[in-house]
């Protein structure tokens, strides 16, 4: 039960992980302030961080190489660092792993072909839903107020009592 002694560059720099994000109309006013800022040129360590967070640890269940504590992930981190230091581009490093393990190794599917569905559908759904809602709200606004000649449902009475008893806002 002894761990394997493996020498490797031991110092790891601080990692900063910025969640990917897109402005929605609702927060554009906030984003507009900051989104235009130039991002500092990324060092090798930042690139390592970026790449490892996008690759799946092959022996874990759904963890990224960056997060995984396994030996396998350690070795992959070292390999990525070596390749980047040797001047390979991040894309080439990722392509290397895709070639070895298949597309499965990428934690986010490539944005091409059939995979576009998974990237586009949520936003299409959001757009279509928003349009439908605008139509619904407009129709609500146009409708004449429902008349009071309906039969009185006990639940209605109950509701009236409740609403009288509570501050309505």
């Amino acid at each position: 039960m002894n761990g394997k002694l493996r020498r490797r560059p031991v110092e790891r720099s601080e990692r900063t992980r910025v969640r990917g994000s897109r402005g929605t109309p609702l927060v554009v006013f906030v984003l507009a302030i900051v989104v235009a800022l130039p991002l500092s040129a990324s060092s090798v360590e930042q690139q390592v961080q970026q790449i490892t967070s996008e690759l799946r640890c092959p022996v874990c269940q759904g963890l990224s190489v960056a997060d995984s504590p396994s030996q396998m992930a350690n070795q992959m981190r070292d390999l990525i660092r070596e390749r980047l230091s040797a001047g390979e581009s991040p894309e080439a490093v990722k392509a290397y792993f895709v070639e070895r393990y298949g597309e499965w190794i990428l934690l986010a599917p490539k944005r091409e072909g059939f995979n576009l569905l998974v990237w586009v559908l949520p936003f299409l759904g959001l757009g279509a839903g928003a349009m439908a809602l605008v139509i619904v709200v407009r129709r609500w606004k146009r409708q004449p107020t429902a008349d009071a000649s309906l039969t009185i449902d006990p639940a209605h009475l109950d509701r009236v009592r409740r609403e009288l008893a509570e501050d309505q806002r």
Partner: protein, 656 residues
């Protein structure tokens, strides 16, 4: 013997459940009160029988009766009694029994609370609840029997998955199941409303507390799951967008949409179809999640074994969806909206957009979770859909939701003017922007994190503003002191003011998530004895290794001395646990929780003589805000749920 008892109890429970469902409907239709009473009693008997089955399995687990296969696979003689008990929900068959038992207790509770009340609904409610109960019992009797015998009888069991050996095992599953099961009551009432055609808000009033309580348990269960992941799994995170995490999050999102949109129907008689559809969706997602976990079609940390169980859950899912759609179609003419709005800018429309974002979020999770299956079916290629995808797509949706959470509570029902809205939003908006600007000045540059800070502070400021206004108004009109005014606010509109507390909790949670996922500091290094590594303001020195023997494993601890700004701050002992049946050791994290940051230390590997060790040290900022936010959310929900007696008394007091 114990197995026979359990099996017999389950068979009779199945028969009784079916009888209860049929008797309730026939008794109601033919106006035979005796038969209806018999159905009520049937629910209680069913509960007693499932309890008997549950106790049989627990007895077998506690006494290590290895003639039962389930006990062999999920328990060990060496376990302390708590783990033996928790073995009940450690795997597929037992967890179904726990679920069936909670379902049975819930049905009994409904019957006891509503004895001779809500007579129009209850026969159908009983039928639906007993139908669900019968389903779970049936699954246990056919594809997943917890009482299957094991021969030859081994001397020792195999024990739980070591990752489950944690006190959280006694909490997280129970909270989650309570949430799942709780949503079946509003679902059953919704179905009863559709079947009987009593489609006013009556069923909503009856089930309001059930839905909110279920939501609270689900919330607590999910956040507790995050805490479990954080302090046990040892990767420094609390949420991995694992398919099964998503499976619990999907009904939470639909349930959240539901508990908001019902207010529109209660106050304004609108969104009737939508509410019925939402509660069905919530329950369908619970079953879908169970299908994902139990069918073995996805691999995940939480996955149970494979088998025919999946088909059963798929069939139930089909029944839920088809029955809802059919009933909604049949009742379409009765489900017209009653209300109208004066302005597009109304609380009603705010709730609609809140629902749109929640459901889009839910859909994104659904799509991302099943997409690997789709891609494999269509392209024949395996793909992964994980954290980077979900952060990218769901991140902005979550931010939009957070923003609406601030705006919603200050838009009046029916509609208001832009000017009025402006007055309500001006103060909090300025505070939020100031918070964003402050973060920027302090050197924080990630757009998403700055935006999250700004919007979260905005939401918190709205909550504070509404409290302040409410208290000020009461002090003016009723001349009350500030504390009494605060109490009266709750007494008179618990739901609104409890809800604002929940929103405050979500704001804290959002800040915690944004900070911890952006500013985590992580270092990993091989240390010789006496060497130290630095992370943030901490220095961690390696002092050696010790070993010890636990009940089920051998534990090797690293001893580390931690200095904070040169002051010795204490000792930390992260460990590796070696289980006889596991190839890889399991890391036991050592952590210090702080308000601003947590120090989190993981032992990677070590040398037998204790000359060196590899450790990973993380400084995780503001993770504790997530737990605080979660606690505040639960507290707010409890405030909103507080019994009405207090309010009625207060109202009476006011009138006298």
């Amino acid at each position: 013997m114990t197995a026979d008892l359990g099996n017999i109890a389950l068979w009779i429970a199945l028969v009784v459940a079916v009888y209860g469902a049929v008797a309730a409907i026939v008794g109601h239709r033919q106006g035979r009160p005796a038969l209806l009473d018999s159905a009520y009693n049937g629910v209680l008997v069913h509960c007693a029988l499932v309890t008997m089955a549950l106790l049989s399995l627990e007895y077998a687990l506690i006494t290590s009766d290895f003639s039962i296969q389930y006990v062999v696979f999920n328990s060990s003689r060496n376990y302390p009694v708590w783990y033996k008990i928790a073995g009940l929900w450690g795997a597929l068959e037992g967890s179904l029994l726990l679920w069936a038992w909670m379902q049975a207790v819930l049905a009994a509770l409904v019957v006891l609370l509503y004895w001779r009340k809500h007579l129009a609904f209850l026969p159908y409610v009983i039928a639906v609840l007993m139908g669900i109960s019968a389903f779970f019992v049936l699954v246990m009797l056919i594809p997943a029997n917890p009482f299957t015998q094991h021969f030859p009888v081994p001397l020792e069991g195999r024990g739980l998955n070591p990752l489950l050996e944690d006190t959280s095992m006694l909490v997280h599953p129970l909270l989650l199941y309570s949430g799942y099961v709780g949503f079946t009551v509003p679902y059953a009432f919704a179905m009863a409303a559709l079947i009987t055609g009593r489609l006013s808000a009556e069923w909503l009033y009856i089930t309001r507390r059930w839905a909110v309580t279920a939501w609270m348990f689900l919330t607590a269960g999910i956040i507790y799951g995050g805490w479990w992941s954080y302090h046990v799994l040892g990767w420094g995170g609390y949420w991995a967008w694992d398919p099964v995490e998503n499976a619990s999050f999907m009904p939470w999102l639909a349930g959240t949409a539901y508990i908001h949109s019902v207010m529109t129907q209660e106050k304004r008689g609108m969104l009737k179809v939508w509410n019925l559809a939402l509660i069905s969706l919530t329950f369908a997602l619970v079953i879908f999640g169970t299908f994902l976990t139990r069918s073995g079609i996805l691999t995940s940390v939480h996955a149970f074994t494979q088998g025919a169980v999946g088909y059963f859950f798929l069939a139930l899912l089909a029944v839920i969806l088809l029955s809802t759609v059919t009933l909604l179609t049949l009742r379409a003419d009765q489900l017209k909206t009653e209300g109208t709005v004066d302005s597009v800018l109304s609380r009603e429309s705010a709730f609609l957009f809140n629902n749109l974002l929640l459901i889009t979020f839910c859909f994104t999770l659904f799509l991302g979770t099943i997409f690997p299956l789709l891609a494999e079916a269509v392209r024949g290629v395996k793909v992964s859909v994980g954290a980077p995808y979900f952060n990218y797509v769901a991140g902005p949706i979550a931010l939009g939701l957070l923003f609406l959470m601030g705006v919603g509570p200050v838009i009046p029902w029916r509609g208001g003017s832009w000017g009025g809205l402006g007055r309500n939003l001006l103060g909090p908006g300025v505070v939020g922007l100031a918070a964003g600007a402050t973060a920027f000045v302090l050197g924080i540059r990630g757009p998403s994190v700055v935006a999250t800070y700004a919007v979260a502070v905005f939401v918190a400021a709205i909550a504070v503003q509404e409290y302040y206004r409410g208290i000020r108004a009461r002090r003016k009109t009723a001349g009350e002191g500030p504390l009494r005014a605060l109490g009266q606010l709750f007494a008179r509109n618990r739901r609104r003011y409890g809800g604002l507390v929940v929103h405050l909790g979500v704001a804290l949670l959002a800040i915690g998530i944004a900070s911890s996922s952006t500013f985590q500091v992580q270092r990993e290094q091989m240390l010789k004895k006496g060497e130290a590594l630095e992370a943030g303001s901490y220095r961690v020195r390696f002092d050696g290794i010790t070993g010890s023997r636990g009940p089920t494993h051998v534990k090797v601890q690293g001893i580390f001395t931690v200095f904070n700004d040169r002051h010795e701050a204490g000792q930390m002992t992260p460990a590796l646990r070696f289980y006889p049946r596991q190839q890889e050791p399991i890391a036991e994290v050592d952590y210090w929780i702080g308000f601003w940051e947590d120090l989190y230390v993981i032992l990677g590997s070590f040398d037998r003589e204790g000359n060196w060790a590899v450790i990973k040290v993380m400084v995780n900022p503001m993770v504790s805000w997530i737990w605080m936010g979660g606690a505040i959310m639960v507290l707010g929900t409890l405030l909103a749920l507080w019994p009405a007696r207090f309010r009625s008394a207060a109202v009476r007091g006011e009138r006298s």
